[in-house]
């Protein structure tokens, strides 16, 4: 079996591997292979930048991986005994009270307590510069953090584990994860980071590879660091909610099948976060946090089960508040005829559906795609903007939606500057140019409001003679 490997020209780190069959049969792989071969990138192992080298191997001979070269720092083993008994008055204060305390949790682990205690006392963090590193075969998922207090600890690595669908955990898997954390790390987990990962803190450098291997053997995978697709997040969706307009869990699983390469190998100008909400309630806050946000929407009016609504009102349901707080002002309750909706001003915002048990979303369902949400970047927090108002999400492979996501990332990859988030890119080139590059059809749903100035540009080819011919008589206004 012939294998084609793409590796770093300098250190020989194998970035990607394909079988000859894959390159002969799968167009997506070919595209990716050609893309990586053409693009100048930074080697995740030795950090040399340049083009990748192609290597053909006929056997499954293991190319010996290069030694790990940590760029930012070389962390030390976990725990430092001499500080174990030092007093921690600040942490003791935080440990008190009826709310569960993180300081009390830290004390049950091998976390170097003085790092936190000293930070609280001095009102300044005691950690030093950090960054992403790679191991042979593990391009993303590992982070290092150096220490500004080498007398307490020399640093601490951690790995990001992509969380399972719906953030549901089976206890036996979780216990095994705890075993790994106890064996290799501080015994401290960050159960859900705001990016949607599970983080295992405090793994010494020499243990990183075995820890990652054991995590992978357990059925979890690491990733989500660097300028790639970060872990996607989905709302709880059909697993435990009555409102989702598409199968968010299935969508995310399919997304990983299609985009796993890009999740685990950094190649974009900056990180790209994808979030999937089942309905406009947006429980994952994708409209604010996600570079690419896929939101379930419906086009027809909410469906009303009049008898159900009536029962709810009779049992004390507050129909008055719901009618007055409807943002479109389109709900009307009449005890005789029941609830009615004025179709012209209904915004499909989900408010009545959330509050009244007898009102359900309509049947004409699909997804909208929004881009450019972020909380920081160059120009601060920005809400995501609509690019596709409606698109059918067809399981199992959601081809149409994923093709659009791929199209958006291609445009972003090609035109954005380095370390420029999608939202900043959108602001720099302007929405009309972005829509043109992606090639979406014109729709009034793409705009919040038309512009107030007339400072637009015409290309010469856009100018056509639309005057009435001089030979024809001009029709007067009678």
């Amino acid at each position: 079996m012939e294998k084609i490997q793409l590796c770093c020209a300098k250190c020989g780190f194998v970035v990607e591997e394909y079988t000859a069959n894959e390159l002969a049969e799968i167009p997506r792989k070919v595209k990716r292979y050609e893309y990586l071969l053409k693009k100048s990138s930074i080697c995740p192992s030795c950090l040399a930048s340049g083009r990748l080298k192609e290597l053909r191997a006929t056997e499954q001979a293991d190319v010996a991986g290069p030694k790990v070269q940590v760029s930012a720092s070389t962390p030390a083993p976990v725990g430092h005994e001499e500080h174990a008994d030092s007093p921690t008055p600040m942490m003791d204060a935080i440990s008190q009270g009826s709310w569960p305390s993180h300081a009390a949790e830290l004390k049950k682990t091998r976390y170097p307590l003085q790092m936190y205690e000293q930070a609280l006392q001095k009102r300044a963090t005691q950690w030093g510069y950090g960054g992403y590193v790679s191991l042979p075969g593990v391009a993303t998922g590992v982070l290092v953090r150096s220490s500004a207090r080498p007398d307490i600890t020399k640093g601490s690595n951690f790995v990001r584990i992509m969380d399972p669908c719906g953030n549901f955990f089976k206890t036996d898997g979780m216990r095994k994860l705890c075993d790994i954390a106890d064996k290799y790390a501080y015994g401290l987990l960050h159960l859900l980071s705001t990016g949607g990962d599970l983080e295992m803190l405090g793994i010494p450098t020499e243990n990183l590879k075995p820890a990652v291997d054991e995590i992978v053997q357990l059925g979890f995978d690491v990733g989500s660091t660097g300028d790639d697709f970060r872990t996607s997040e989905e709302c709880i969706g059909p697993a435990k909610c009555d409102l989702p307009l598409y199968d968010t869990l299935g969508f995310r699983a399919a997304w990983y099948k299609r985009f796993l390469d890009d999740v685990q190998y950094p190649r974009f100008p900056h990180k790209v976060k994808c979030k999937f909400s089942g309905c406009p309630n947006d429980c994952v806050r994708g409209g604010q946090k996600a570079d690419i946000f896929v939101c379930g929407v419906f086009r027809d009016l909410p469906v009303i089960d009049q008898s159900n609504v009536k029962t709810w009102v009779e049992n004390g349901g507050d129909i008055g508040t719901v009618c007055t707080r409807c943002p479109g002002g389109c709900l009307n309750w009449d005890p005789k005829t029941g609830l009615s909706i004025d179709g012209d001003s209904c915004l499909r915002c989900m408010y009545c559906i959330n509050k009244i048990p007898g009102v359900r979303p309509g049947g004409d369902r699909g997804v909208a795609i929004l881009v450019g949400g972020k909380l920081r970047g160059k120009y601060g927090p920005m809400l995501a903007k609509v690019v596709v108002p409606f698109m059918k999400a067809v399981p199992p492979d959601y081809k149409e939606v994923f093709d659009m996501i791929e199209k958006i990332t291609e445009v972003y990859d090609e035109h954005a500057r380095k370390k420029e988030r999608m939202g900043d890119f959108l602001l720099r080139i302007g929405p009309n140019e972005f829509f043109r590059l992606i090639g979406v059809p014109l729709s009034p749903r793409l705009f919040a409001q038309p512009r107030t100035n007339l400072y637009y540009h015409w290309e010469p080819e856009e100018i056509k003679d639309e005057r009435v011919s001089a030979t024809e008589p001009i029709q007067g206004p009678n």
Binding site: T109, G128, T171, T194, E233, V284, R325, M350, Y351
Partner: protein, 352 residues
């Protein structure tokens, strides 16, 4: 070796979810901390939601006890919510009291559903970050402690979400929350000349939002102190410009009115109301009392189902500052980019 992706969809779903996947028709909140979902098959699923330590930082020792509880009450599955609560899904109705008592014994309060304070979300702060200007986990612990009643009772006009980030990078998603704190630096970033060789200088110059960093001779840069907005963008890109901040300069800003859902006034980012408060560990009294005054003013004056941002939209900022007695500052009006004039008022629709 990685490359396997996330676990298969069915692998971690509890049996009751698998049986009723996509078949739920309605939900209700029978009591604080408990949600009931009804399936079209007639089956009801009770979920008990418990608060976790700030930042979802949990020791394996505690996590194993949570696993034991999940084994005992809901067939060996639990889940973590977007707001870092721990959910026990599919608890038999007659055992809910027993589970709540058990969780109380372990020190986990049950609540955070419907019109109450939902669990706080924050970044790691001093725990494990080199950029933090403050320690959100400790502040969130103090805030949760202060708002314990609001967490365990449905006593607010609408849901209330409180978040915390240690710096302008906003990892604790502060701008999405009703009320949030963000750590702010007030010092210039350092330039450690000996480390500049390892930095990509064009990148460092280009990431600065205000163009305050400029080249100064070969391989050297300088900062325009008048322009710097003390965001950590350069400190993130370049080890020579880290760490930013000092014990005297660092502090906390308060933002209000973020919201994700499309109901009400639609999604909005939070707005800065207090630009700086000092860091005073371990309880941050200035910060907690400012949050208390916002929560009190909102819960006393807002209408039903009106989130903090929507309440402010209705009554206006004049009344907001009057009701909360927060100090005003010219710093809350933006002057940093081309959109700056949007923040000034362009009409005379005052409330007095």
């Amino acid at each position: 070796m990685p490359g396997i992706g996330i676990p298969p969809l069915e692998a971690n779903l509890p049996p009751i979810v698998k049986r009723n996947y996509g078949k739920w028709i309605t939900h209700e909140h029978p009591r604080p901390g408990v949600i009931k979902h009804d399936s079209e098959s007639g089956e009801a699923c009770f979920t008990v939601r418990a608060g976790m330590p700030p930042n979802a930082r949990i020791s394996t020792q505690t996590l194993r006890t949570i696993c034991d509880v999940a084994d005992e009450f809901c067939e060996g599955y639990f889940r973590v919510t977007q707001r870092n609560s721990c959910e026990f899904v599919g608890v038999p109705e007659n055992r809910i009291d027993q589970l709540i008592a058990r969780l109380a014994q372990m020190g986990f309060p049950v609540g955070g559903t419907n019109r109450s304070l939902h669990n706080t979300v924050c970044c790691t702060g001093y725990l494990h970050c080199h950029l933090a200007a403050t320690d959100p986990p400790a502040i969130m612990k103090a805030v949760s402690e202060m708002l314990m009643k609001e967490y365990t009772h449905d006593c607010l006009p609408a849901k209330l979400k409180i978040s915390g980030s240690g710096c302008l990078n906003n990892c604790g998603e502060s701008s999405t929350a009703d009320i949030a704190i963000i750590g702010v630096h007030r010092d210039l970033p350092p330039i450690h000349e000996e480390k500049l060789k390892g930095c990509e200088l064009p990148l460092v110059i280009s990431v600065c939002p205000v163009g305050a960093i400029r080249p100064k001779g070969p391989g050297m840069i300088e900062i325009d102190p008048k322009r710097c907005i003390h965001c950590p963008a350069c400190s993130v890109s370049c080890a020579a410009m880290a760490p930013i901040g000092s014990p005297i300069g660092d502090g906390v800003a308060i933002v209000v009115g973020g919201k994700a859902g499309n109901t009400g006034d639609g999604p909005a980012m939070a707005k800065v109301v207090v630009p700086y408060l000092p860091n005073n560990p371990p309880y941050w009294p200035e910060v907690t009392s400012a949050i208390r005054s916002i929560v009190d003013a909102w819960s006393a004056n807002a209408r039903k189902d009106e989130r903090v941002g929507e309440w402010i939209n209705r009554i206006g900022w004049e009344k907001f500052y009057q009701r909360t007695s927060l100090p005003l500052s010219f710093k809350i009006v933006d002057n940093y980019d081309a959109r700056a004039l949007e923040y000034a008022k362009a009409n005379v629709r005052f409330t007095w």
